[in-house]
Amino acid sequence: MAWTAPRTWVSGNVLTAAQLNVDVRDNENALSLHTHTGVAGDGATLSVLSRDGGNTTEATTTSTVAVDILTATVSIATGGIPLNAMVMLRKTTGAAGVAYLLWKVNATVLGSEVIWTAASINQTEAALAELRTRTYMDANYSGATAMATGVNEYIIVSGAATSQALYTAIPNASITSVIVRGRVQDALITMGADELHVYTYPTS
């Protein structure tokens, strides 16, 4: 229900139910129920970080090859939108070996695996890993004036002070899943992944 400018009353006017419905009921409804579309008087939506999905059940593995451990089902209509995913990682003792992390968006594996643990030491470890992606930037120049392809994803791991810039083209189609892949160097070690949260940023 759109806002209707209330009439101006003058001396001698007789109030009717229809006028009250328009000037009071409908306008009160307009004030209460309007959405922030950016239309004059309606206000605009504040551009904020949006949580698009996550997974808060800890999944664990002893696999020595990459396995899809933790999946966040999301519904991001436009690929290429700036995205930030965070996950908690931890591992057990068992052997002097490391653990690895990979990120996957839909069916696309981003870059190569990252060692998220400190070193080949038989110890428990934990880390916070983060994936940042942004719009794909290809090399639009050639020859002597060539410019590098843009960094499209960045993987950061706390604790191990590991980071990796990636150049994989993230999907331009809608994004339906963000997946944490992992493996351990030795099957006597268990790796866990939990508290996966996926956020997107506004683009304008």
Partner: protein, 215 residues
């Protein structure tokens, strides 16, 4: 062979629960009490499988990866002592270029010579001609409406090897298109264990009891 079971695994002491943040301005729909249960992790399940069914029950060969679209084998090689040295220098914060120019590797003074050598990929993964074998328990079938096969899993979904537990997997019925998240655990059996699993009903029951304690 991939044995697909319904999660969760065994609940540990109910008083031991992970503390989480109960509410967040960015997560207004979250209404739990700030705690969640602690279930047996993959290593604990694997230990119990080894104790009940033998140490060779799980596929642990490095480079053998079971996926939704096939079994892939990556040739592996052991790294050299020199490769180990530069890898460890990097993990100690020494840039590779600096290590190679200033702190060059010399076998006689290798400070990491008592550490194990890693296995490295020696070539690209090769898809095997035979399709992956799998079995889903009755509980998984019931959760999925009576049937499930590998086509229900996301394209290229990686089961890896060894044991993986308590993973929510989005399964899609290829006929109806209906999508459902199901909490699954799975174990990739070694070739000899796969033969045992097919032939021995007792072994199958043992494995299911360990993987699906609440069923």
């Amino acid at each position: 062979m991939i044995c697909i079971c319904l999660g969760p695994t065994k609940l540990l002491d109910p008083t031991r629960r992970l503390v989480t943040v109960p509410t967040s301005p960015l997560d207004p729909g979250k209404t739990d009490d700030g705690f969640k249960p602690v279930w047996e992790h993959a290593g604990m399940v694997q230990d119990r499988l080894h104790a009940a069914l033998g140490p060779d029950i799980c596929e642990h060969r490095h480079g053998v990866q079971h996926r939704q679209d096939g079994v892939f084998v990556t040739p592996m090689r052991t790294e050299t002592s020199e490769e180990r040295y530069y890898r460890r220098m990097a993990t100690n914060g020494v840039e590779d270029k600096v290590a190679r120019q200033v702190f060059r590797y010399t076998p006689a003074t290798d400070p990491f010579d008592d550490e194990p050598l890693q296995l490295l990929q020696a070539g690209p993964a090769v898809k095997q001609p035979q399709p992956p074998e799998y079995v889903a328990t009755d509980a998984v079938k019931a959760a999925c409406g009576g049937q499930v096969d590998l086509t229900w899993f996301p394209a290229g979904f990686a089961f890896g090897n060894g044991v993986t537990t308590n993973s929510w997997v989005p399964l899609t019925n290829p006929v109806t298109g209906e999508r459902k998240d199901v909490l699954l655990s799975w174990c990739v059996l070694s070739p000899s264990a796969a033969v045992l699993h097919k032939a021995d009903a007792g072994a199958r029951a043992n494995l299911r009891t360990i993987m699906e304690p609440s069923i």
